[in-house]
């Protein structure tokens, strides 16, 4: 491990020396690169928004005159593995709540880019704790609520901020997506029946599209265009394995339903919340499913009444990939801070390294963005968080945040 780290550092130093114009430097008493171990008295150099060098101060020279931010602890910018922030706003009134559309139970065609408000105060709020990347979008609460996106927490427009426009299709297998007054779905079984029906339709839509593709009769082109269905196109991407279905499920029987769905349609699924996932360790592992564990300090009630603070650790111990998240909140706190949720997981069996991984490099890998973020490595985006102590401690402050080399927060939070 140590040797691997030294080799890596060697590469970094070389890369740092070839750099032409260093814009900014960060120096930390401890730099958690999340790529090969922590560096004592480490330095990160930044050029054109990218990391151009990482290594110990003894081997990386900060060019004269370059602004240097210093802190006791430096980490990669944090990644919130799943949130609704930016679609949900601080006021919690209809005006700023776009995470759920109630008109129909299944609307995969709803895109998060058409709703994400990069200027939302709560986006800036979580950023001030070091969160630089958020996987956010349509929330739990309808059978299929819409799509999610991945965005940086900084930018003037969604186009500037967004990293991945469409990441997953959000679905809910939980009584919170059931309806009263003789409307569907009204039961667990009906939820599955509707989901299966819709996925079956999507499957046929894809197959039909493929047949049309194969048929090179140009007269069919018009017919093909008329048949376009935005919802089916989206679910078709799920059928084809391009997008995972991110399914919120807490009870063991609902989690089992998700796995059954995956099996039946051969789709990719991500399990969201999964309060009782500790009852189905073998099944989840066998299915190769990643769990986006509920916010560690989520409220134990209803579907989550049997949640455990140790679930993240239990799953990780079993070798199941996990991601930590701030989730969705309907009341207060309107947004959770994924740093806090990771801290509570760290203190409840997950430990520092795995908890930090779950909100940096491991989350980046699951989300498919590890080529750009998640660790402090040469060539990656200069997304960096600075702390005056152990980032997980209650009394530590986040003292600075960089996104793509730009200092986006200097408040002491």
């Amino acid at each position: 491990m140590k040797r691997a780290m030294m080799m890596l550092l060697g590469v970094c130093v070389v890369a740092g020396m070839v750099g032409a114009e260093v814009d900014l430097a960060v120096r930390g008493g401890v730099v958690h690169t999340m790529a090969g171990g922590a560096i004592k008295d480490g330095v990160v150099l930044i050029e054109d928004g990218k990391i151009s060098a990482v290594g110990p101060a003894s081997s990386i020279r900060i060019p004269d005159g370059v602004r240097t931010l210093e802190a006791a602890v430096v980490t990669p910018g944090l990644i919130d593995g799943h949130a609704t922030v930016g679609l949900t706003g601080i006021y919690n009134i209809p005006h700023d709540q776009d995470q759920i559309e109630r008109s129909e139970p299944m609307q995969p065609e709803l895109r998060a880019i058409d709703a994400f408000n990069v200027h939302e105060e709560l986006v800036a709020f979580v950023r001030s704790f070091g969160v630089t990347t958020v996987h956010t979008g349509h929330g739990p609460g309808e059978l299929i609520s819409g799509q999610t996106l991945i965005t940086k927490t900084h930018g003037n427009t969604v186009a500037e901020a967004v990293m991945v426009e469409s990441v997953a299709v959000a679905a809910t297998l939980s009584p919170i997506a059931q309806k009263g007054a003789k409307k569907s779905p009204g039961t667990r079984a009906k939820m599955m029946a509707m989901l299966r029906g819709e996925l079956q339709r999507a499957k046929e839509y894809v197959e039909k599209g493929e047949r049309v593709e194969e048929d090179d009769d140009e007269d069919d082109d018009e017919k093909k265009a008329k048949a376009r269905d935005l919802g089916m196109e989206t679910l078709g991407r799920v059928i084809k394995g391009e997008l995972p279905l991110l399914v919120t499920a807490n009870r063991a029987q609902d989690i089992a339903s998700v796995l059954r769905l995956k099996e039946e349609f051969g789709i990719r699924v991500w399990l969201d919340m999964a309060a009782e996932s500790y009852l189905l360790i073998d099944e989840i592992k066998a299915a190769g499913v990643t769990v986006f564990v509920h916010p560690t300090m989520y409220r134990a009630y209803g579907d989550t009444e049997n949640m455990s603070y140790e679930t993240a650790a239990t799953l990780a111990d079993a070798g199941i990939p996990i991601v930590l998240q701030s989730g969705y909140e309907g009341y207060v706190p309107k947004v959770r801070v994924v740093l806090y949720e990771a801290a509570w997981a760290a203190a409840n069996g997950l430990g520092f390294q795995r908890a930090m991984g779950a909100i940096t490099i491991d989350a980046a890998r699951v989300l498919g963005i590890d080529d750009r973020v998640g660790s402090l490595e040469v060539g990656k985006d200069a997304d960096i968080a600075l702390y005056d102590g152990d980032p997980f401690e209650y009394t530590t402050h986040c003292v600075g945040v960089l996104i793509e080399g730009e200092v986006v927060s200097e408040v002491v939070r």
Partner: protein
């Protein structure tokens, strides 16, 4: 019993590095540094080396126990008692002791101007408590102790007969206090003349207790102007009041201090979620403390979970609150707010032997509560599997009963209040 070797945090005095705590018949009989305190011969000596002992936590605002209060028939129902809704078997009590809480003010919700009487409880849940009566705290006369819940701002505004505006909220409360005054005067004027004594009214009886200072008002209030409305009502009717939540308390800290009113504050991870909490700050605790306000934190369980009550003062410290006040804010200050300052809240000779044994500093995220003791009885032990289940959660740790709050369930399912 004598607990030795631990770092003691008495709260009302300096911390003691290697201390001895002696407990006898449910009371603290000695506390001090090793060598300064005689361990009585025959005492059971518990080696608490490496541990940290502090007083049992006092939570001045909680909804554990499957609470309910007033119904929707009217906005002001002081005669209703939260006591009559409590389920002593509720797992919330188990979680509270897992969080080190030993004394709690159990409140009905905030969806009314007054949703009823609160009850002060000791979490004597070690042995099987079969009725809620086992948990009550009684005063010198044997009467159960508790306050009266009131609220203003948006939670208690709704369709008639509830108020639709802030002004009407204040009017409706003033009207009831005026009635209670007249009711009391009628009773006084009647003297021994039974014919002139008005028919007993349980709602007004409660308000009379408030007017006479026998019952403290625990007032849910967030916005700075709502806080000032509470202080105005207090001024007009002369009742004793504690301000609860006070999201915008930092805006009127000097006014709160001048009124001599204590605060029971909430600390939420982020501002917002409701309009009144838009300007909630982590700094509120520090600002109030600096202004000279007596400060306590509360869980508002389920809004924040009892198991991490210590997180609130710790986050207050993150925003500048002193360690000393942070410690007091969940112990002695809370005890004083509940008129229990002479009985609980510090490790002092003569006080109830309510304490918590931890494996580290109370304000570290990594610290675990090992044991919680109430009146010399162990009520939580992390090394017991059954207790651990409630401490960390897991299958079977769920609620026995859902509390009826005000606005949580509605928002959670998407409906807007």
């Amino acid at each position: 019993m004598a607990f030795t070797g631990a770092h003691l945090i008495p709260v009302d005095g300096p911390e003691i590095d290697d201390g001895v705590l002696v407990v006898h018949r449910g009371k603290i009989v000695a506390v001090g540094a090793v060598g300064d305190v005689d361990v009585p011969s025959g005492a059971d000596v518990v080696d608490a080396s490496g541990g940290v002992i502090m007083p049992g936590l006092v939570d001045t605002h909680s909804h554990v126990g499957g609470i309910s209060g007033a119904d929707r028939s009217g906005p002001i129902q002081p005669g209703v008692r939260v006591l009559d809704s409590l389920n002593v078997m509720d797992s919330g009590f188990k979680r509270a002791v897992a969080g080190g809480i030993t004394t709690v003010n159990i409140m009905p919700g905030s969806g009314h101007l007054s949703s009823g009487q609160t009850v002060y409880a000791k979490l004597r849940v070690g042995e099987v408590a079969t009725t809620i009566d086992a948990l009550l705290i009684r005063d010198a006369d044997g009467a159960m102790m508790g306050g009266l819940k009131m609220a203003n701002g948006t939670n208690s505004m709704r369709d008639a007969p509830f108020p639709g505006t802030r002004a009407r909220s204040a009017f409706l409360l003033r009207e009831q206090f005026v009635k209670a005054r007249e009711y009391r005067e009628k009773i006084e004027r009647a003297g021994d003349d039974a014919a002139k004594i008005p028919a007993r009214d349980l709602h007004l009886d409660t308000l009379v207790e408030v007017l006479e200072g026998k019952r403290v008002v625990h007032f849910h209030t967030h916005r700075h102007d709502d806080i000032m409305t509470v202080l105005r009502l207090k001024e007009e009717f002369g009742f004793r009041v504690v301000l609860h939540h006070v999201s915008e308390g930092w805006k009127v800290a000097d006014e709160i201090a001048a009124a001599g009113v204590p605060v029971s504050a909430i600390l939420i991870d982020s501002p917002g979620g409701k309009l009144e909490a838009k300007h909630l700050l982590y700094e509120t605790g520090k600002v109030l403390d600096d202004a000279g306000v007596l400060l306590a934190y509360h869980t508002d369980d389920w809004i924040t979970d009892s198991r991490y009550f210590l997180r609130s003062p710790a986050l207050g410290m993150r925003a500048g609150l002193s360690r000393e006040t942070a410690l007091r804010s969940v112990t002695l200050n809370g005890a004083e707010i509940l008129d229990l300052g002479d009985r609980v809240g510090s490790l002092a000779v003569g006080k109830d032997a309510d304490f918590v044994i931890m494996d580290g500093d109370p304000f570290s995220v990594y610290t675990k509560i090992r044991e919680t003791w109430v009146e010399g009885e162990k009520v939580f032990d992390r090394s017991e599997e059954g207790d651990l289940l409630y401490a960390v959660g897991g299958y079977g740790a769920g609620h026995d009963q859902r509390p009826y709050l005000c606005c949580y369930g509605h928002s959670q399912t998407g409906a807007q209040q």
